[in-house]
């Protein structure tokens, strides 16, 4: 008996050790395949690699063409580097439409468009890119998942004229920012020969090879760990100049920023660092801090469907007067932020400087509330509704995954407490919160914060205010309904000239500022510390790496 016992626990230990060793071996075996390719490349000179760091929340988990792409930061960067589009938006400050797969395009009526494709462009697997691929993309791909359904690629008719010419008719006329941008923005052209067999289940196609025709091709992908891209030698355009691009995932912002300091990465993969982290990079060798007005605009959204005093314009005005925007800029963004008044960035030509601005003014806020009859009748420090006698107390769920939002909402609730309005700040996970926001009818929120990255070509962002009656499709978190606004929006989208367009844009900015479905606060800067000892020539477009800006990877050059 004793020997059995003795044998047993020794046996257990041996088994355990064996298991560990074996699993390591199996694991290492799994590595062989991908690594074998690297061996071959290693015979040449050391490849120049550009590495960008992402956080765990931003990382790409799958290459299948679903919302994981567009709504994940790493996906947003991966996609324009691996796939070509018909045209691509150039870097700032002009943000021109640059011909890509299409070398030219024309239209008579803004509704029927003809695109002439570049000849001899190949996918990474050697197949040529033709009009058939474009047709397939518009026919199936853009309908596969709501994430690809932009109005500007919704067609009623598609015709392949010849191998390199395609003509399609849009459901709605497309003014394209007064002719500046043709349809097809942010729509990858996918290889028909790969996606056709799975055309009815595109979103669940694993797409492990990720065959595109873009400036980089996939070398290795490890879900939630890294994306390893190498230069597409046969790319039609100028560049890229680096041999490899690697997107690396880190467990936290801290780890990522530390990696930049240590030299493990060259740049931050999306929208720069948190302002509190920026200071640590000042004065370091081989590190330069680039700043620019950022892409992202956060704003306050009010739920006008909610049967509370929030429906009273006076209350919303008072709230906007009472919020100390400078303090938000100072505390949440450490001064790296500028005031904004609407969806349009102040440097844009369509920015309307004459909207109602609601500059910080507590007295004015109190005056507005008193004028509308709100007084503290029960003496609890919170104002009461003159009709129902209820407290001005609002539900404020907030995205618990974004610290800047929690901070902003806290400051707002501190400010509003001053004028007798109480906000129940409730940190909520992102998915549940978005469900609340995008479904205002469910009345799960009264006041909250939301953010978006409108970009220079921001026609889509107006959808946030389009009424449900006039075709609003769920973006409208405020349950806002203004016929005047909707008619301007319709006119703007099909406007032929910049002048005509500007007129409508101005009107829409003014209307939103008067009706206040949304309250605009500040626009954070993109703070990008970059290493200068490996590559140089980072390209700015509201930050050096974001969904409108893949240019840094294409244009950066190795340091000699």
């Amino acid at each position: 008996m004793r020997t059995t016992k003795h044998g047993l626990h020794r046996g257990l230990l041996i088994a355990l050790t064996l298991f560990v060793v074996l699993s390591m071996a199996v694991f290492a075996g799994g590595q062989q395949e991908g690594a074998g390719q690297a061996e071959g490349g290693a015979e040449q000179a050391e490849p120049v690699r550009m590495t960008a760091g992402f956080t765990q929340e931003e990382s790409l988990e799958t290459l299948s063409p679903t919302d994981a792409w567009q709504y994940g930061e790493m996906g947003c960067m991966f996609w324009p580097l691996v796939y070509d589009q018909l045209w691509i938006m150039g870097p700032g400050p002009d943000y021109e439409a640059i011909p890509a797969l299409a070398k030219s395009w024309e239209t008579e009526d803004n509704q029927t468009w003809t695109f002439h494709l570049r000849e001899g462009v190949e996918f990474h697997d050697g197949e040529e890119v033709t009009a058939e691929d474009v047709e397939f993309t518009l026919e199936y791909f853009v309908h596969s998942d709501p994430v690809w359904e932009y109005q500007e690629v919704m067609t009623t008719d598609i015709q392949v004229i010849d191998k390199y010419t395609i003509q399609f008719t849009l459901e709605e006329p497309h003014g394209g920012a007064g002719g500046k941008y043709p349809p097809g923005f942010w729509t990858p052209i996918v290889p028909k020969h790969i996606f056709e067999p799975v055309k009815d289940s595109i979103p669940s196609y694993p797409n492990e090879e990720a065959i595109g025709s873009g400036p980089f091709q996939l070398k290795e992908f490890k879900s939630g760990e890294f994306v390893w891209l190498e230069k597409n030698e046969d790319w039609w355009g100028e560049g890229p100049y680096v041999d490899e691009v690697v997107f690396r995932m880190f467990g936290s912002e801290d780890a990522r920023d530390m990696a930049l300091k240590r030299g493990d990465i060259d740049m931050i993969g999306y929208a720069g660092v948190d302002p509190v982290s920026a200071k640590q990079f000042e004065g370091l060798d081989n590190i330069e801090i680039l700043t620019a007005g950022g892409l992202q605009i956060p704003w306050v959204t009010f739920n006008l469907h909610n049967d509370t005093p929030i429906q009273d314009l006076a209350v919303r005005q008072a709230i906007m007067y009472a919020i100390n925007k400078q303090r938000i800029a100072d505390i949440v963004y450490l001064g790296y932020a500028e005031r904004v008044y609407g969806f349009i960035y102040p440097e844009m030509s369509e920015f309307n400087p004459n909207v109602k601005r609601y500059n910080y003014d507590v007295d004015k806020a109190k005056e507005v509330l008193a004028g509308a009859g709100y007084t503290d009748t029960d003496g609890n420090g919170v104002l009461n509704d003159p009709e129902t006698g209820e407290d001005l107390e609002f539900e404020g769920p907030i995205n618990s995954q974004k610290t800047y939002m929690i901070k902003t909402m806290r400051l707002i609730s501190e400010d509003l407490a001053e004028i007798g309005i109480k906000i129940n700040v409730k940190p909520t996970d992102q998915s549940t919160l978005l469900d609340y926001l995008y479904d205002p009818v469910s009345d799960n929120y009264t006041i909250s914060l939301i953010d978006e990255e409108p970009g220079p070509y921001a026609d889509w962002v107006w959808e946030f205010a389009r009424s449900y009656e006039n075709g609003g499709e769920g973006w409208n978190t405020a349950y806002y309904n203004s016929e005047e606004f909707d008619s301007h929006l319709k006119a703007l989208l099909s406007a032929d000239t910049l002048e005509e367009r500007k007129e409508h844009s101005y009107a829409m900015q003014r209307i939103l500022s008067e009706d206040l479905p949304f309250g605009f606060l500040v626009r954070p800067e993109a703070i990008d510390p970059v290493r200068t000892d490996n590559v140089t020539g980072y390209v700015e477009a509201m930050g050096i790496s974001n969904w409108i800006n893949p240019w840094s990877y294409i244009k950066a050059k190795p340091v000699e």
Binding site: E253, V276, L334, T432
Partner: protein, 298 residues
């Protein structure tokens, strides 16, 4: 471990209790534990007097991530809030959650344990199956799942911890009751026709009190631990200050590496508090071991 060595009810309860605490204070770990716990209790009770700044109030721009100074004893966080005040306030939340969850758990566990042990038979069988089932569950994943589904709030955390933890107590109490049932004084009570309710709560309950005390201590440490882990994983109540929350925000902020004064105090507090309760727990179970008194020469 604490299932053995019980005091008899017939003796004067007061004397026993005094002796128990004397032994506890004579135990090195017990003393250390009690002292640290008292310090934290003082922090929790008198936190409004101890905090130097309102822990909920954001500071001004100049106050952000300030190093420890005369004004901010432990520096400030990324919203300019005083770390010392938050640590003091956090003690309040952590200890409160710990005590409430411990009370719920131990009361439920004791009730189930006594009922199961006393009545036996099918009832016991059924109750113990449920207990076994709960004890098989992966605790933290279950807590994560429940917290995710129920939403972030302090009360949900208390609820989650209670749901998951009561079976341990139930099991320990039951086996204690099983051995008590055979004791003469219970037999005697039965003979004189005392109703079951009376026997269970007047005769048996007082005898499991020391055991429940030990269990409560265990539950408090587990609760404090669980709250900190859930908060750290972002499932806590972000509108309340707790040590786990502080760590969560520090870890998420991107400023942790440069501001150790923001990270170390909450970690140290969590560890110290749990350690002190573990020390106390060990001491209690030592003291309850039969023969301990004699060994120490009392």
């Amino acid at each position: 471990m604490a299932e053995t060595g019980l005091l008899k009810t017939t003796d004067t309860q007061k004397k026993k209790t005094r002796e128990f605490f004397q032994l506890l204070l004579g135990h090195g770990m017990g003393k250390t534990g009690i002292i640290i716990i008292i310090i934290f209790l003082v922090m929790a009770f008198f936190s409004p007097l101890l905090w130097t700044n309102d822990p909920y109030k954001s500071g001004e721009a100049k106050d952000i991530l300030v190093k420890p100074s005369a004004e901010f004893w432990l520096g400030t966080d990324d919203m300019g809030k005083d770390v010392w005040s938050q640590v003091v306030y956090g003690a309040r939340v952590s200890i409160m959650i710990g005590f409430i969850a411990a009370v719920i758990t131990v009361v439920t566990g004791a009730f189930v344990g006594i009922v199961a042990g006393f009545f036996g038979g099918k009832l016991e069988e059924g109750l113990m199956r449920i207990v076994d089932f709960f004890m098989m569950l992966p605790i933290l994943p279950l807590m994560i799942v429940l917290a995710a589904v129920l939403g972030p709030s302090i009360w949900n955390i208390v609820f989650v911890i209670s749901v998951v933890s009561w079976p341990t107590t139930a099991r320990v109490v039951r086996s204690q009751v099983l051995s008590l049932k055979e004791r003469p004084f219970i037999e005697a009570a039965r003979c004189i026709g005392a109703p079951n309710k009376r026997i269970m709560f007047r005769e048996i309950l007082p005898n499991v009190v020391p055991l429940l005390f030990a269990q409560s201590i265990l539950m408090i440490t587990e609760t404090i631990y669980a709250e900190s882990v859930l908060s750290f994983l972002g499932l806590g109540d972000a509108s309340k200050i707790s040590w786990g929350q502080m760590l969560h925000f520090a870890f998420e902020s991107g400023a942790m590496s440069n501001s150790p004064w923001w990270v170390i105090p909450p970690i140290l507090s969590i560890v110290l508090l749990i350690v002190s309760f573990s020390f106390l727990g060990t001491a209690v179970s030592d003291v309850l071991t039969p023969g301990y008194k004699e060994k120490r020469g009392y």
